[in-house]
């Protein structure tokens, strides 16, 4: 059996191996020596935006994502962190009318914007039509991707109404329609590992039908 100790590690091997830089066959060094960092406080910046109609002014470490500004600084924890890399959609919010992955953008980039999160769509006592439809159609299970799905769904219906085409829109000159295929395509940035997709599409179709 071949084990890492038995073959010579080539440069290419190191690159494709990826996990650890191997300079000798057995000893993995700690990486290049670096000057000790000076313990200065991280740079901060002021940012002002509104969330769900409420104005906020924050002084933030400039590395804070919009997602962490919402969750950790404003304690609006309805927006979820599933991957922190724009791969799952759980952090979807609506910024100036467009849905975005709030983990992929820094908070300080949103000066003056109007941000809507799941908390801004409705509350348990006064639910948005989309939230209500998700309950009726059981469009969730564990509930962790749900706020992102709902924010995406609300924005998707807006995108279709605005005539924005998608990958599955057959005729780019005609107004796109609310079809299951259009919805599945447009919702595919929001992963649900519990697998509630079939019910989520039913919920969105229900809301779209009530609107038209």
């Amino acid at each position: 059996m071949q084990t890492p100790e038995e073959f010579e590690v080539s440069r290419r091997g190191v690159l494709v191996g990826g996990a650890a830089s191997v300079a000798t066959a057995t000893l993995v060094p700690a990486g290049p020596a670096m000057a000790a960092p000076t313990p200065v406080p991280p740079p901060t910046a002021k940012v002002a935006f509104s969330v769900n109609g409420q104005a906020h002014e924050l002084e933030l470490d400039t590395r804070v994502s919009l997602l962490d500004a919402l969750r950790e600084h404003l304690h609006l924890t309805g927006t979820k962190k599933g991957c922190d890399h724009g791969q799952c959609g759980a952090c979807t919010v609506i910024a100036d009318g467009r849905r975005i992955n709030s983990c992929l953008t820094l908070a300080v980039m949103h000066e003056g914007e109007k941000i809507t999160t799941i908390e801004g769509l409705g509350t348990p006592d006064r639910m948005h039509a989309m939230q209500d439809a998700f309950v009726v159609h059981d469009g969730y299970q564990c509930g962790y991707c749900t706020p992102g799905q709902i924010c995406s769904a609300v924005a998707v219906l807006g995108e279709i109404a605005a005539g924005v085409p998608s990958h599955v829109t057959a005729d780019l000159t005609a107004k796109p329609k609310v079809t299951p295929a259009e919805l599945r395509e447009r919702m595919s940035g929001n992963i649900c590992r519990c697998g509630a997709y079939s019910n989520i599409i039913d919920a969105i179709v229900d809301v779209a039908g009530a609107k038209t």
Binding site: A19, A20, L27, A30, P41, G82, R193, C194, S198
Partner: protein, 735 residues
């Protein structure tokens, strides 16, 4: 209460609340972002600091040295925890590898340090300054090359690794029709949406953990054992769990490191595992190599059935029990199964949704499809012909309920199976080659002892407390339905509190035992509360009727709340089980049907239709149960077509360790799904007469899709996932 004789008529049979497709009572919280998950509990402890985990960059070996100077000097850093300064740590009963590694490293991305800082950004930046030198050791990472050294593992959960009935070798050799094939299932990741996360706070020597966990009592015990403190000093609270699928059955590094970090920093600490860290740090479903041999008469009677499975795990780990269903699913006089376990130095293998059956049926149900083709028989008819109503290894044990044939027949009818061409690659729809596939679903029923406490207040509201968890399964709702039915209340007069280790110990969420077991525990507690209510009201407990918020007995009637007029009434009980599960074989059954389209030019596979028919005892809430099944069908479609942890066999880790590389189904992959539940009650399982569906739903799905791909193309792929590269080059000539 002990359940040791089959249930007769009881208040649940009224089905005024139980059995109704009620909306989930936690729905308004989940859809408005107000259900609190572990990492979000800003309210529970002031002054929370942030922990960020450092993982090992080698799979096996030792940490030669660790330089923390730069990290310690970084802005905001409060403490750094490593094995060198954490004090003596134990290992939990349910963990195979230590949750804090060092100096020995057992697997890639094993946690080796936690950096605690004032902010998340500071902790993350400082974690990158921890400098580690490793002495890499030899590791074994290749299952296929480890088969010769694989050993027969000891019995797990009372199940022997091997079984033999009759003369398998002779019967197989003499069978006129044979299948003998090898199947490969890859390592799978749970990839639940909520990362493992915990907030830890100490008050003196008492620890509270707000965490995301399926099995509260197990995990209290393992936290105590790991930290070397009494169980009484550990409290866990896990009211909402953002998906588990088996990946949160046990405590993980987030929990232990949050506790150690909080002790070191002397303030509450919160830790979430970064997504790209989860795939190698936490357990996964182990890959299997399976050999299946089926021998049959020319008429299709199976005479020999043999199933062998090889899997790997870290030292001290266990096998993937992929042959379990083969001991019970089909008739046949001559039988053998065997499991072998190789030592691999990959991350820990462990339970994922339907452990054993999920990968086992991925193989077995392709083999049955292959046998049907060799026989020239319809695969539905072949399965029906080989049905058994008794345990084939122990014929004196009958199945308590077994409606597999009904599932297959009803499914065939509803799905339009008659339109399927028996010969593959015959159906075209434009550029698509279209095919249908079927597979049987099988998953054993397990009952676990489960306790609950119920409180009645003077307004007539009943509050249920149990450490049971809701991992998306609908537990809140079915427990509320159970209490409402028992106490004669509408659903909105019941409050359910879950997931707190201060509550009575439940069965927990796993092995699809949660629904039946936890509601049976609530049933037992409610029986006691009914007695207490009747006594308090001066009524005869044996004839008191509970309905419409009132109690009636001997011509008298009182509002339920009156019994608590001068103080809350509290009752607690635990459901325990006799040996009915030994007298009867309790299992759940189903049939999965799938239709796929395969692009004739590119080999792209699209699932076009899916249907599941399930027979799984009483369905407590058809809406939530249906969701369990469609979700499992979705995960099964992923297993069929895309899910695979790719192993770097030189350096020993899973390469595709995030949600971009480890592909799971998205909206565009999944069509509208249909689920049918057969009307069934199983009085041998509990007074609820229920079983589970959450794992049944995934059992057989991948094989149904695989068989549909074969029917569409004539290309038989036995190596999951079925990606288009495995079809290209063998697709039918369609020019």
């Amino acid at each position: 209460m002990k359940f040791d004789t089959p249930a007769t008529t009881n208040p649940i049979d009224q089905l005024k609340v139980v059995g109704k497709p009620t909306n989930r009572i936690d729905g308004p919280l989940k859809t408005t972002g107000t259900a609190p998950y572990a990492y979000e509990r800003h309210d529970v402890a002031a002054n929370q600091a942030y922990g960020y985990v450092v993982g090992s960059a080698i799979a096996k070996g030792r940490i030669a040295s660790m330089n923390l100077e730069d990290a310690e000097a970084a802005p905001g850093v409060l403490a750094i925890v490593t094995a060198a300064n954490a004090g003596k740590l134990g290992k939990g009963d349910f963990n195979t590898a230590k949750l804090l590694g060092g100096p020995a490293v057992d697997h890639y991305h094993q946690a080796i340090a936690l950096v605690v800082a004032e902010s998340f950004e500071q902790a993350r930046a400082a974690a990158a300054l921890v400098r580690v030198e490793y002495a890499r050791g030899k590791g074994n990472f290749d299952l296929a090359k480890s088969l010769d050294g694989a050993i027969k593992p000891p019995p797990s959960f009372g199940t022997e690794a091997d079984s033999a009935v009759g003369n398998f070798a002779g019967a197989f050799a003499g069978a006129p029709v044979q299948v003998d094939a090898r199947y490969f299932t890859p390592d799978h990741a749970h990839a639940m949406m909520e990362p493992h996360a915990s907030i830890a706070a100490w008050e003196g020597d008492k620890l509270t953990l707000w965490t995301s966990n399926q099995m509260i009592a197990w995990s209290v015990g393992d936290m105590a054992k790991t930290l070397g403190i009494p169980k009484e000093n550990v409290r866990l609270d896990s009211p909402y769990v953002g998906g588990g699928f088996g990946g949160k059955l046990f405590i993980r590094a987030d929990a232990v490191l949050a506790a150690l970090g909080a002790r070191a920093a002397k303030r509450p600490v919160k830790v979430a595992l970064p997504r790209a860290f989860m795939f190698n740090n936490t357990p996964h479903r182990p890959a299997t190599i399976q050999r299946i041999r089926l021998g049959a008469t020319a008429e299709g009677k199976i005479t020999a059935i043999g199933h062998e499975s090889w899997s790997g795990d870290l030292p001290g780990g266990g096998p993937e029990t992929a042959v379990g269903q083969t001991r019970l699913l089909y008739a046949g006089e001559n039988r053998m199964t065997a499991m072998r376990l190789a030592v691999l130095d990959l991350p820990e293998g462990n339970a994922m949704r339907a452990p054993g059956e999920a990968p086992g049926l991925m193989a077995l149900e392709i083999a049955v499809d292959e046998l049907a083709e060799k026989l020239g028989m319809d695969p539905v008819a072949l399965r029906i012909l080989n049905d058994t109503q008794v345990d084939p290894e122990k014929p004196e044990r009958r199945f308590s309920q077994r409606q597999l044939n009904e599932c297959l027949q009803i499914g065939a009818d509803k799905f339009g199976w008659a339109k399927r061409s028996a010969k593959p690659a015959q159906t075209r729809d434009g550029r698509w080659l279209v095919g249908m596939g079927v597979a049987a679903a099988f998953r054993n029923n397990i009952n676990g002892p489960s306790a609950a406490r119920v409180r009645l207040d003077k307004s007539g509201v009943v509050t249920v407390e149990t450490d049971m968890t809701d991992i998306g399964t609908g537990t809140y709702t079915i427990i509320a339905q159970t209490a409402a039915e028992m106490m004669g209340l509408p659903l909105d007069k019941v409050v359910v509190k879950l997931g707190d280790s201060a509550f009575p110990v439940s069965a927990g969420s796993g092995g699809q035992w949660g629904a039946n077991s936890s509601t049976a525990g609530v049933y037992a507690a409610c029986v006691k509360l009914r007695e207490a209510v009747a006594q308090k009201l001066g009524m005869n407990p044996s004839d008191a009727a509970f309905a419409d918020g009132k109690v009636r007995s001997g011509g008298r009637s009182a509002a339920l709340g009156e019994a608590a007029a001068d103080g809350e009434l509290v009752a607690e009980d635990r459901m325990e089980y006799g040996d009915l599960e030994k007298t009867y074989q309790q299992s759940t059954f189903g049939a999965h049907y799938a239709e796929v389209g395969v692009d004739a030019m590119t080999g792209e596979i699209r699932v076009r239709r899916m249907l599941a028919v399930c027979a799984a005892g009483r369905i407590l809430n058809p809406k939530a149960a249906r969701s369990q099944v469609i979700g499992a069908m979705t995960m099964g479609a992923g297993a069929a077509l895309m899910e695979e942890l790719a192993v770097d066999k030189r350096f020993g880790f899973f390469v595709n360790h995030d949600l971009a590389g480890y592909e799971v189904p998205v909206h565009a992959d999944i069509p509208h799904q249909e689920v049918i539940f057969l009307d069934e009650t199983d009085p041998t399982t509990s007074p609820m007469k229920a079983k589970g569906v959450g794992e049944l739903g995934i059992c057989g799905v991948a094989a149904a899709v695989a068989n549909a791909v074969y029917n569409a193309t004539g290309v038989r792929v036995r190596n999951y996932p079925i990606t288009l590269d495995k079809l290209l080059g063998e697709l039918p000539d369609i020019a």
